[in-house]
């Protein structure tokens, strides 16, 4: 709460954040898919600034282009117009400065949990000794509660456990920006709650700028500093942005009991229903 409310007053005349506070900057972003019937414009003139150490969730109707936007930030999808920059530098293709947690865990099923995390760690810390890299990987696996499953093959883990490895893998490469594409969408609600807690606990320590897509209004409020609402496509853009002024660290209980919670919830649901 402190950061958000204190900083909200510092917007410049154009309604933008000062550039030294911005981690991720999308400027008049456009995405066009050519089809036989002519171009299909998914995103048009999309502007969004995300500050350092900010957790932003994005909600919107299915097919509105949320995932397209996220994979463009990740560099896995070409940009048709406008640009994306991280710390003022335009991105070119994918890279480990933008870690991704995919909707499906996307672990290599033939590797153990540890090997899966090491795959990224080895790549990002090539100068570290083998023991150091092992320690990094094990540290994050412990953080997600998998200290007993280091040497289990990914194919032997449950979906929820696999996604925990996915979280560990993403944090272990110490990205500047963390991109989460509906990471808990395939899990049952109990597991989802557990993983939200784990995610937010690690995030509180690491404070990595995070952008997360979700369909779940409660999840969006619980995790985020700001909730970005996207309009329905084609030509989707940012519809509205809601600041969530809850103190951090948050607990689920305190959030649910907060007076503003239902106000935020109503705001989001009203947006989605129109």
């Amino acid at each position: 709460m402190s950061i958000i409310t204190a900083n909200r007053t510092t917007l410049d005349d154009n309604g933008l954040f000062p550039s030294n506070e911005v981690m991720l900057d999308l400027k008049s972003l456009k995405k066009v898919y050519p089809t036989p019937k002519g171009d299909y414009v998914v995103l048009e003139d999309l502007n969004l600034q995300i500050r350092k150490e900010e957790f932003v969730t994005i909600i919107g109707h299915s097919g509105c282009g949320k995932t397209t936007m996220l994979s463009m930030i990740a560099g896995l999808n070409d940009i048709s117009g406008g640009n994306i920059s991280v710390l003022g530098k335009h991105i070119k293709g994918p890279g480990p400065d933008r870690g991704v947690i995919f909707q499906s865990p996307s672990l290599m099923p033939w590797m153990t949990a540890l090997q899966n995390v090491l795959l990224g760690v080895n790549q990002v810390f090539p100068d570290a000794t083998k023991a150091q890299r092992n320690d990094i990987a094990k540290y994050y696996l412990q953080k997600v509660g998998l200290e007993d499953a280091f040497n289990k093959r990914a194919s032997e883990l449950s979906q929820g456990m696999q996604q925990r490895v996915g979280i560990a893998r993403a944090f272990a490469i110490k990205p500047k920006v963390l991109l989460l594409d509906e990471p808990f969408g395939m899990l049952d609600s109990l597991t989802r709650g557990e993983l939200q807690d784990i995610l937010i606990e690690i995030w509180n320590k690491e404070k990595i700028t995070a952008v997360m897509i979700t369909h779940d209004v409660d999840e969006a409020i619980f995790l985020a500093d700001r909730v970005v609402m996207m309009t329905s496509g084609p030509k989707a853009k940012i519809g509205d942005i809601l600041n969530i002024d809850f103190e951090r660290p948050r607990t689920r209980k305190s959030v649910l009991e907060h007076d503003d919670y239902y106000k935020y919830r109503k705001h989001l649901i009203d947006f989605l229903e129109h």
Binding site: P94, P96, W110
Partner: protein, 368 residues
């Protein structure tokens, strides 16, 4: 205890689960469910096997009778009643010279199997005797710098089986060494894939016989000055060339159809080409590669017989052909023995590949 667990695992892996049930029966620890399994997996297959042998027996009897009647009638029309009676008596007495030549009965095949085994032991004993007899002489010859005298008698049936297995493994290895690397390379590059696709599609359906002739043309020229065993070289290269296509196509497909999620992970982590290929693409293509190798092995065993037959390479194929040309009274039943041996070994090879495939694959799918 631990050993029996691993034994259970191995038998289950190889698809011989019924062995476990058999063990349970003998140890008296059988449950109702197990018993039903036992019925389904042991009793029913055994019954169908017996039925098959019964049908075969009746069929061969019928054929025997047809052939005998024909022989008698032929004697009757060509030489008169006396000759026909003589022929009938001769057939009934079981004399070799007038036996009808037709599909042998199961009993005859079993007898031939035993003959072949006895023959094998006789030849082995003969070989041993020869080795003992020439041991001193050979030592002397080698000391004088001359070549040792080797046994040149005919190979036994078991020797021929071993030669065939050797040829198949050499061919399989060749197929593996050619098809897997090429499959990986063309799987990685779309351009390469489409550029060689036509060649693959054209060569894939070519008959083993044609491959043999092609290999013969090349090897004959290449081995002109050497005294190496060109029949063996020709047959194993032909076997390799015939059977490698399944592996080639499967490898290329496995490599080119890696799950997009894995590729995205590799992209985000910026893995180098080497790491991408060896840590992500190849392991994920491995199950398909092994499916290809399994097909390759069974194809190479299948074409081997035809190729050996044509290449005059000593092995089961030439055994079958020689027996057919031989036309002795038990030739037909020896051919059928060879047929069962070929089938049995093919089945065993397939099981071995299935076992390896199951060990390699990361999703434990049960094979057929």
């Amino acid at each position: 205890m631990k050993q029996s667990i691993t034994l259970d695992k191995i038998t289950k892996f190889m698809g011989f689960e019924f062995l476990r049930t058999l063990k349970l029966i003998f140890t008296g620890k059988i449950e109702k469910e197990d018993f039903r399994n036992f019925l389904r997996k042991v009793v029913v297959p055994l019954a169908s096997m017996l039925l098959f042998i019964g049908l075969w027996h009746m069929g061969s009897q019928a054929l025997y009778n047809t052939e005998a009647t024909y022989k008698i009638e032929k004697a009757l029309t060509e030489q008169g009643q006396e000759a026909a009676d003589a022929m009938e008596a001769c057939i009934a007495s079981g004399a070799v010279k007038c036996q009808p030549n037709t599909l042998p009965s199961p009993a005859q095949v079993w007898a031939s199997f035993n003959t072949l085994l006895d023959d094998h032991f006789a030849i082995r004993a003969d070989k041993q005797a020869f080795a003992e007899k020439t041991a001193a002489l050979n030592a002397k010859r080698i000391a004088e710098g001359k070549d040792a005298i080797t046994y040149t008698g005919r190979p036994s049936f078991v020797d021929q089986i071993l030669t065939s297995i050797k040829t198949v493994f050499a061919g399989f290895l060749l197929a593996l060494l050619i098809a897997v690397p090429i499959g990986i390379v063309i799987g990685l590059s779309k351009t390469l894939r489409s550029s060689v696709n036509w060649l693959i599609q054209i060569f894939k359906p070519v008959s083993p016989v044609v491959w043999l002739l092609l290999v013969f043309m090349i090897v004959k020229t290449l081995t002109k000055d050497s005294n190496s065993d060109s029949a063996f070289i020709i047959s194993f290269i032909s076997v390799g060339l015939c059977s490698m296509w399944a592996t080639l196509v499967n490898t290329a497909m496995g490599v080119s159809s890696v799950d997009k999620d894995y590729i995205n992970v590799a992209k985000v982590l910026k893995l180098g080409t080497f790491q991408k290929v060896f840590k992500v693409i190849l392991p994920s293509a491995l199950p398909l590669i092994f499916t290809g190798l399994r097909i390759t092995l069974s194809v190479s065993w299948m074409v081997l017989i035809a190729i050996e037959l044509l290449a005059q390479s000593p092995g089961l194929g030439s055994f079958v052909w020689e027996e057919f040309q031989n036309g002795a009274i038990d030739s037909n039943s020896k051919i059928i023995v060879a047929m069962f041996i070929i089938g049995g070994i093919g089945f065993l090879l397939d099981r071995i590949m299935l076992t390896v495939q199951n060990m390699i694959s990361f999703n434990k799918n049960d094979g057929i």
